[in-house]
Chain length 280, copies 2
């Protein structure tokens, strides 16, 4: 491919190094607690990746594993306990929960100041109104990638495909705060190709394999692939590899945005810890 690679491995390592230095100067070790229910292998893998990143930078982490027979009340009791524990800076309930458990009441229960996934309505509201907020890690990682490679955001047109609460919508808020013009496209967008071709920056977060093809991207655009669709022969992104011949910048898959999510959730934890401990 001719596009410059927006390398998640390089940038997440840079974030980790910066975090390690910052944590070393703090008078306390930030503490992040994972809550995992059942034995979903993907969830276990994600939690392990984040635990490793936490350890690497000096963030203390702990994982509560509940059996997949745990009741709604049992999961909620764990979260309540972590809210009340003054030594805990961040709480991360790994989704999805096993069938029969409703994730929303669990997420709503998390103290917004410890909500390092940024999914609590109070954080979403703070984010959109431009107030200090804990924001989801994946969209934060997109901006960190672009900033690392010097891709200008201010005044550029960012087209986001996908409107999830975890990626598309918070990405729109974050890019808008950086003075980008933001278009939010999705599965019901008419003539998606005409819309994505407007983008100086294109965020592919639709969760549909190879939905962004080379003809849909303006020459030189920066393309960020957040998709991950499991297929018979591996994992496919939302971006067709041929986009690499048209785009100016492209995240590899794997090795792109996923690694950034891991780094940024630890970054958010450190931020949450510093703010919360300054206030108490």
């Amino acid at each position: 491919m001719t596009a410059i690679r927006l390398d998640g491995k390089v940038v997440s390592a840079a974030v980790a190094e910066r975090l390690r230095e910052r944590v070393a100067t703090l008078p306390f070790a930030p503490k992040l607690v994972f809550v995992r229910v059942g034995e979903d292998p993907a969830s276990a893998y994600y939690v392990r990746s984040k635990e490793r990143m936490a350890k690497r930078v000096g963030v203390v982490s702990e994982t509560h594993v509940l059996p997949d027979t745990a009741s709604q009340a049992e999961v909620e009791a764990v979260v309540r306990g972590l809210n009340d524990d003054d030594e805990v800076d961040g709480i991360l309930v790994q989704l999805p929960l096993p069938e029969g458990l409703d994730p929303q009441p669990v997420l709503d229960l998390i103290d917004p100041d410890k909500d390092v996934d940024g999914l609590h309505p109070v954080n979403v509201g703070r984010l959109w109104t431009g107030r200090p907020a804990l924001a989801p890690a994946t969209p934060r990682g997109l901006l960190a990638l672009l900033d690392h490679y010097g891709v200008e955001i201010e005044g550029r047109h960012v087209v986001i495909v996908g409107r999830s609460n975890l990626v598309g919508r918070p990405a729109a808020a974050l890019f808008q705060h950086r003075n980008a013009t933001v278009t939010m496209a999705h599965s019901r967008t008419r003539d998606l190709a005409a819309v994505t071709r407007q983008g100086d920056i294109v965020v592919a977060a639709a969760g549909r394999a190879r939905v962004i093809t080379a003809d849909m991207v303006a020459p030189g655009a920066a393309v960020l692939d957040v998709g991950m669709t499991r297929e018979a022969d591996g994992i496919a992104g939302d971006v067709d590899p041929a986009v690499g011949e048209v785009a100016g910048y492209l995240t590899p898959m794997p090795g792109g945005t996923g690694l950034m999510t891991v780094a940024m959730v630890i970054d958010t934890t450190v931020e949450a810890a510093v703010r919360r401990r300054a206030r108490r």
Copy 2:
């Protein structure tokens, strides 16, 4: 002008009539309380308009007027009292507050379930995550105008100019929930004309007189003017009157979106009352 007039007088009257019929079937009269501080003539005028609309549909309203010497604590004490009063369904603190008072802590204090202006972070967060929320009246009025005149929203491209918490941002959320593709433009957008010309629907909410000119609008587009700039010879909208020769639909100014705001804040009050009283 050749554009069809999106007439706020007609549509707000239709909303009022629908509300009057609905309120008549309720086993209680919804109650809305205004808090006004000082004697800003515009604020007094807006509150009177909303009081009149409330009366017209059978919503009980009351206005607390505090002197412009009121302290922050005094204003906040009024809001706390209204939160605690179970007969109060809606609380509306009319902005701006006199200099020296900080509006944000006052707005944050309002019980989210009585927050009929939809400015509390919890309502903003609920709105953006697609959950039941009280949303600001002005953007709700835009959708009501379009719906009344049968202007399709689903799948259309909506370009919003202006990113205020009261209009631009919540409008983006509301249009997205109706499956529109939404572009959020603002003062830092490059080549604004090229962006607005993409819009099947254009929302002008920048607060700059006549910033949307005829060359910036696609033939046949629906243009909604939310701007209000005070000038020597009256009040100017964000839309140049010549847009009426190009657009397919246009709100008059005055007589357009402003009247809808008045109707929709009462509509939100009735909605808030029904939800809150169903829960208690």
